[in-house]
Symmetry: C2
Subunit: 226 residues, 2 copies
DNA sequence: TGTACATCAGTGAACGCGCGTTCACTGATGTAC
DNA sequence: TGTACATCAGTGAACGCGCGTTCACTGATGTAC
């Protein structure tokens, strides 16, 4: 029997596979919605997800062997989301100056627009199931490497060996993900706080890029200047 | 009736308050043990904790109103652990050179020695309960500020305004916590991997400190060097 | 084209289980006299 | 010092509940002829 919560007629979805795809997406969306309500993915039950999607609990098994498998598909969605972010970031016109600040703005908008996905990343990246953690880390590493390649393509930091450039991008990505939590936690009614946060974010990245620009393969081993 | 799993006689614990303190610690330790088995704190049940501590479930309530309250005490323990870390780090002799690398080694040893606490921090810092998240973040900020003060006391980065120095320490702490996960996830039988990780960690911090050393309050707004 | 059968997404009922929480209790420790 | 009573950490049994998973099913969609 079709799911009454989703008007399949109206969607012109008649074939079995189309209906199944709709339900499949409904389950993924239901899980993200619950994450958006402040729950950590790992603590959400199969029954809750099915309920949120307007299905009977056991119907879940027609789509996923377990909630963890659903989580792995969410990680895939995250991978796509990060890839789209890079594509958007490449649109930032480098000739207009202040690239960094404008890139940060693009990122902030992007995080807000993909709130649920970034909430999912933040909470499952270190907490929760080992399998998910590993999958997320793999995708984040991918993202880091692509960013490094973009730097190369733009002719930035030509003097850095690849391993060092990847390390720099690793720091940048780490900073970005930390900032994502701040962006998502911001109370909506405090523009001043948001501006402060943005400035801090920009300065953190400036400092990293400054360090990268100064980097020599064997820097003086004194490490800490006086 | 005394808990048979803990030999109170042998511990010379006879007074009611002493016995209670022992049980209290047993519950905290039980929770950390379960975290050490790969579980995320938020997903551990009251009954599991009591069972691990060798108690009947409802005895839990004699010590904590809820598992979340137990978690808050673990956060306090974490705060103490971080403070001890700073104290140990101050022992690193600055006259002997290569301070950074030696500090990193101190940190690695410390993370390994306090494995469970760092596992707890890592998994609950962004996942799980909002209350715990906020408490952990507050303590981490505290730690960051103390580190900034230590830099001041050592006369390092005199030219940096306080807000900038705190930002630098924020980056350092972020990098440290990210490294903690890597340290804890390391397979014990791969010294090469460990060495690689250490080197990467050292280089990340070198880059941050290099950037901090170069920092001028209004750096050129071009941001990205060509 | 129509008919007969196969497929399979979703249903509804049921199961056993671990959960958080309650209750009245026990018996060792603590206290007042 | 001994005695009588209070305190309270931990017990044991019980509760109602939501959980994951199973089963036989339904009825619309798909397919073969």
């Amino acid at each position: 029997m079709p799911n009454p919560d989703i008007d399949l007629q109206r969607l012109d979805v008649h074939s079995r596979s189309e209906r199944k795809a709709v339900s499949h997406r409904a389950l993924l969306h239901a899980a993200l919605t619950l994450v958006g309500e402040g729950r950590s993915f790992t603590s959400i039950s199969l029954r809750e997800i099915a309920r949120q999607a307007g299905m009977v609990p056991n119907a879940f098994y027609r789509h996923f062997a377990s909630p963890e498998n659903l989580g792995l598909e969410l990680v895939e969605e995250m991978g796509i989301t990060l890839r789209r972010l890079l594509r958007e970031a490449r649109q930032v016109d480098p000739s207009k100056g202040d690239i960094l600040r404008r890139s940060v703005q693009v990122y902030q908008q992007y995080v807000k627009a993909n709130r649920l996905v970034f909430l999912f990343i933040s909470s499952e990246r270190s907490g929760g199931s080992r399998v998910l953690r590993v999958a997320i880390r793999r995708d984040v590493t991918h993202f880091t490497n692509e960013m490094a390649q973009d730097f190369r393509d733009l002719g930035l930091y030509k003097e850095l060996p690849t391993a060092r450039l990847q390390m720099v991008c690793g720091l940048i990505v780490m900073t970005m993900l930390a900032a994502a939590i701040d962006i998502l936690d911001l109370p909506a009614d405090q523009p001043l706080l948001e501006h402060e946060m943005t400035e801090n974010f920009v300065r953190q990245l400036q400092l990293i890029l400054l360090g990268a620009g100064q980097w020599r393969e064997k820097p003086s081993r004194g490490d800490l200047p006086a």
